[in-house]
Symmetry: C2
Subunit: 694 residues, 2 copies
């Protein structure tokens, strides 16, 4: 893909002399930012913006690495053919009017892909704003040249954005507000060929990119995407648009893309170590911090606060708790060093309320900050520092270069929240950004981003945890799947689960009362008896479940009631009655984008009430499964809470691994529901289950 | 308090000619902003800043309404005495060095209060930044005069801030960033006399204030505060600092104030219709929106999105779901009107992606926005509109005056999220703020604030819901309380609960096996038997609870085991075994700031796991109690979910009212725990309970 990112020569198909047209903006942006050869293409003109113009790409004399196409949709096909004929390896199609506009546009899009298949030419877009490279300074986009007159600021954040306006307008926002330096901003539009996966692969190898931020409305190849994220050595931040039910609808109408299921995507991103963002600027804020600290800093997230405002220290402390960080406890030597800065009456504590020290020092504000910061950085009990300061007071200006240097040397993040005068803040921000010090206008955002930095997962471990392979197919399962359709009954469902090592309740299926009595003795009382009708999964609602059967008489009575209710059409299932207050649910779901996904959650009446279910993509390694279990927030109910048996996490992880493997091994299985899985002292036991074929 | 807010003459005690001193800033701020008479007081000078200076307040010839004191802490007492002698009604003490600095400062503070008690003079502060009035233009504060050189912007937001730096520095932030017009910003410091309650009372009557925002580290008189909030006709937004365990610690060391319990404060604020904020700027953002829309707009929160970016529309839609709003469904006539603006291929939908219409109109961007907005406002199915736009493109500038006018006329909020060029955004913001159009830099914040406006409670109803009175004291309760100490056993606890009409499990206490057998027949099987040892509440952990006792033999066996375990020192309690999967917890807690508070939550093993408990101040009206129950997020488990009995909310509300009344009637009761309260078809039944005296 170097022809897109580092071309030596670029053609502009649709170059225009009219400054109101995109084809003019593209050309002027190239002229002012691109140092290679530029070839305008437009049959109507001899020259455009002072450069010789060619009637078609075929006529260009020299070698052309890439072309930017901005002609009406119906002319795009022939332009691309010309480019391919010229030997151009890839084109960036910025024109709109394709699948996003309905049927006929979608057909055009299909024809474009046809050309790609024939010629091998790579297609970027259509319906996009192309590519901006902050480090090289290239602008391959129709954004108005005036918008970047302040100049691009090169940096280490690369963005992949599936929204034209947002990539262009948003980039101008980032540039003009000096929020962060950037490396590449890629607007992928309808991404018929070049997509987020291709770009991620490229950026993974490319040194300048330290963090990748993405706004995505669809993830076409979910499995490849997650695999790339998982293997990436760089932090990845994703804002997924269209996660709500109604949002998903908007996504369809906007980019003709199917938005995936919220929970599955959340689970998959989590599993791959991706940080999820909620909003556009928040995403960039997280990215710019991770670009400075792309690896998890040492320590356990113990934060020291150095503040010019006691109130800010208090609210920052509240955020520390909210974002699961902790307030650092100072060593005695730190306390002694700090105390020297303060008047005697002021006990030194975290947060360090610096104001009395500044007043005490009679105007030596900067020195006080510096000395306090040095003491905090030197304390081995401090993992990171938040400075809360006021912008506008000459006494407390910060030496951003020195702060950056100290942070780099110690490996301890130093974040700044500043409030105060608009211009003073902006000056401080420019200074901070240029030296690589994270600075914020809102305290909560500062703390949230600090937490993201401190809570980073060890990226390098990810690749070593290769998931287990799904191997053995059992005949019994294949038989059941081949001889049924729709819903398997719980007896058959559990046969498949058992074949894969999932511990299920002891049970026998009986055709006669004699069978029932014999099996009851074999299983042992108390028993559960259920009526099983093939294809019917509403046993409880139909009164076909009898609990607490304690002797032969009860078996007889229940048998008679069940057969009457089923009008002698079903069978009777006898089960050992499993008791336990902690009920879990586990399952497998085949997602159109992500394939087989494993789910687990709280079972019983709390399952739906609290919406506590978590997804991950199969196959799972045992470590993956343990991590999935760890996502459940109320772990203490798994730890033998209030006299209940504790959950054997290892055994439960094996069940989750097995569920994923079943999904991978038998494409005929659409869905598995194991509900409830009861936590017993011997491990979790599947008591009821349903497998759905299809 | 008019002498503070509308004085005709002000003395500055500690007026200084040194521009680096606060006493100089105060005087210069007065000279440039205050139109009344100004009297500098400083024995060292004849004149200060060109005004005649007096050696003491006593020597001032004319009448003085208020004085601002900024002298070293140890001189404050005599200055206040001088002011009182002069007949000044109130002083604003901006000096620091009081309780926030430790013991000796606290003593000074106590002496200040002594003067107040003797003379009746009102004291504002100390350790504060005084008062700024954006409408009158007064600055009674030592903030540096240069900081407000841009001029104050008058408005309808009033702030009460318990943090000096934050009130001063933060005000400069608001002013210089043109975030909102303000009315009064009151920095209350250590609030030894004038506190948030006094100021709220004043602002309630004052027309210019439409919304009150507060940053508080302590709420001294919790009951009065909540009562004022409850009765206020104006929206109130509170950021409570020191809510976390560690934050509370920081609060103590900072303003010598006890931070209240997080949950209780949250509950109390919720009960009083207060909106809680998380962060400083977020608080101001909510306030500025409520100042424009101080009453709940009509409708059910159906939002239409008008966006220049499809991506923004998608993410805004996701936020609509997150903030519990809904996407408006357009009427046919709206669709027809909108469709005329769009190219044919583009179906009109909510979000309205305006870009194709702008391109279709050939540059008539402003007209397209206007026409679309008019159609949306005219649609009776649309309650509010969010515009997402780009700042920096001349084609899509907004006519803020017209937008404000349309919003006012229709009563429908119109919010704007703009991204783009820094300067263009700032110009748009200034324009928007001056006309009263809420505008935002972050999409999430825009949606959050819109939700706060649309979810407002009907403030005027609050006062009509007077809570129930706690009246009848029962002898049985008084007897038990007088004859015990520490923990009451569950039998005695339930006697008190029953006296107040709380339905408890049928039970008898037995001394002998004969009693047990007799009571068992009376209550009916299955039974629960418990061993009761006075003062011991760990029955379950000690194996003193036996469930499922089904006949006389079992009673006998259990009796023997229990008496053996208790070493014949306790009694045996026999209870009807109550079954039900839904277990609740309810209780009462006497808080030092808020008095008796009622609590309810989920019982059983999920209680602690999910931390679902909610507080309200007693007394509760039945309506209050129902609202408390409604705060529980998973209401569906109360609605006869999955075959469980539904919760009789009215009966449960009566229990909560009764618990509050018990707290009010018997000061000897410190705490009540009813756990579990089991939901049965006949209503919730208290199965176990503990009352703690003290």
């Amino acid at each position: 893909m170097d022809f897109f990112f580092s071309p030596k020569s670029v053609a502009v198909i649709g170059a225009s002399p009219n400054p109101l047209k995109g084809g003019n903006s593209i050309l002027r942006n190239l002229i002012s930012t691109f140092k290679g050869k530029i070839y305008p293409v437009n049959p109507k003109y001899k020259t455009v913006e002072g450069l010789e113009s060619y009637p078609s790409a075929r006529e260009i004399p020299g070698k052309v690495d890439t072309a930017i196409i901005f002609v009406p949709a119906k002319e795009v096909l022939s332009s691309v053919r010309d480019c391919a004929a010229k030997g151009i390896l890839g084109v960036i199609i910025e024109s709109a009017g394709f699948a996003e506009t309905g049927q006929s546009g979608a057909k055009l899009q299909e024809q474009l892909l046809e050309i790609k298949r024939e010629t091998g030419i790579r297609l970027w877009g259509p319906n996009c704003m192309g590519l901006v490279d902050g480090v090289k300074g290239h602008v391959f986009s129709f954004m108005v040249p005036e918008a970047i007159k302040g100049g691009l600021l090169g940096g280490h954040v690369s963005l992949i954005v599936q929204s034209g306006m947002l990539s262009g307008g948003f980039l101008m926002d980032i540039i003009s507000n000096r929020i962060t330096g950037i490396n590449k901003v890629c607007s992928v539009g309808n991404k018929i060929d070049v997509d987020e996966c291709d770009l991620m692969e490229y950026m993974e190898k490319e040194e300048q990119t330290r963090v990748i931020g993405m706004y995505l409305e669809s993830i076409v190849d979910g499995r490849r995407f997650i695999e790339l994220c998982r293997r990436s050595s760089k932090p990845i931040v994703v804002l997924k648009g269209g996660k709500s039910a109604s949002g998903a609808q908007a996504a369809i109408s906007h980019t003709a893309a199917l938005a995936g299921n919220n929970r599955i995507i959340e689970g998959a991103l989590n599993q791959a170590g991706v940080i999820e963002a909620r909003d556009f600027k928040q995403m960039v804020d997280i990215c710019r911090c991770l670009a400075i600290y792309p690896r998890k800093p040492a320590g356990s997230g113990r934060v020291s606060i150095l503040t010019a405002s006691g109130g800010a220290g208090i609210v920052a402390t509240d955020f520390i708790e909210e974002f699961q960080l902790s307030l650092a406890d100072f060593s005695d030597s730190t306390r002694i060093k700090l105390q020297k800065l303060f008047p005697e009456w002021m006990p030194v504590n975290n947060p360090v309320d610096i104001w009395p020290a500044i007043e005490h020092s009679m105007g030596g504000g900067l020195d006080v900050y510096r000395e306090a910061l040095d003491s905090l950085i030197a304390d081995s009990g401090v993992d990171a520092i938040l400075i809360c300061g006021f912008a506008g007071n000459a006494k407390v200006l910060f030496d951003m270069a020195a702060i950056a240097e100290k942070s780099k040397k110690s490996g301890k993040p130093v974040f700044i929240w500043l409030f105060g005068l608009r211009d003073a803040f902006f000056e401080a921000q420019k200074e901070a950004i240029s030296h690589g010090v994270p600075i914020f206008q809102e305290l909560e955002r500062a703390m949230e981003c600090l937490a993201k930095v401190l809570h980073q997962k060890e990226k390098l471990c990810a690749s070593s945890e290769a998931p287990a392979e799904a191997k053995e197919i059992y005949e019994i399962s294949t038989d059941i799947i081949q001889n049924n359709h729709g819903h398997l009954d719980e007896y058959d469902s559990k046969k498949i689960l058992r074949a894969h090592g999932i511990d299920c309740v002891k049970e026998r299926i009986a055709a006669t009362l004699d069978d029932c009595l014999r099996f009851a003795d074999e299983i042992g009382y108390p028993l559960v008896m259920k009526g099983i009708i093939t294809g019917d999964i509403h046993k409880t609602e139909k009164g076909l479940v009898y609990l607490g059967i304690s002797d032969g008489n009860a078996v007889k009575k229940t048998y008679e009631e069940l057969t009457a209710k089923m009008e002698h059409a079903g069978k009777v299932l006898l089960q050992k009655q499993v008791t336990g207050k902690i009920e879990l649910i586990a399952g497998m779901l085949r997602d159109p984008h992500f394939g087989p996904c494993v789910m687990f959650g709280l079972g019983g009446i709390m399952a739906e009430a609290f919406n506590q279910s978590f997804f991950a993509l199969a196959p799972l390694s045992p470590e993956d499964a343990l991590k999935l279990i760890e996502r459940f927030p109320a772990q203490k109910i798994f730890d033998g809470f209030r006299g209940n048996p504790s959950l054997d996490r290892k055994k439960f992880a094996e069940i989750l691994v097995a569920l994923g493997n079943i999904g991978l091994l038998y494409p005929g299985i659409k869905e598995i529901d194991v509900n409830p899985l009861i936590v017993t002292p011997q491990g979790p036991v599947a008591v009821d289950a349903a497998i759905i074929l299809g």
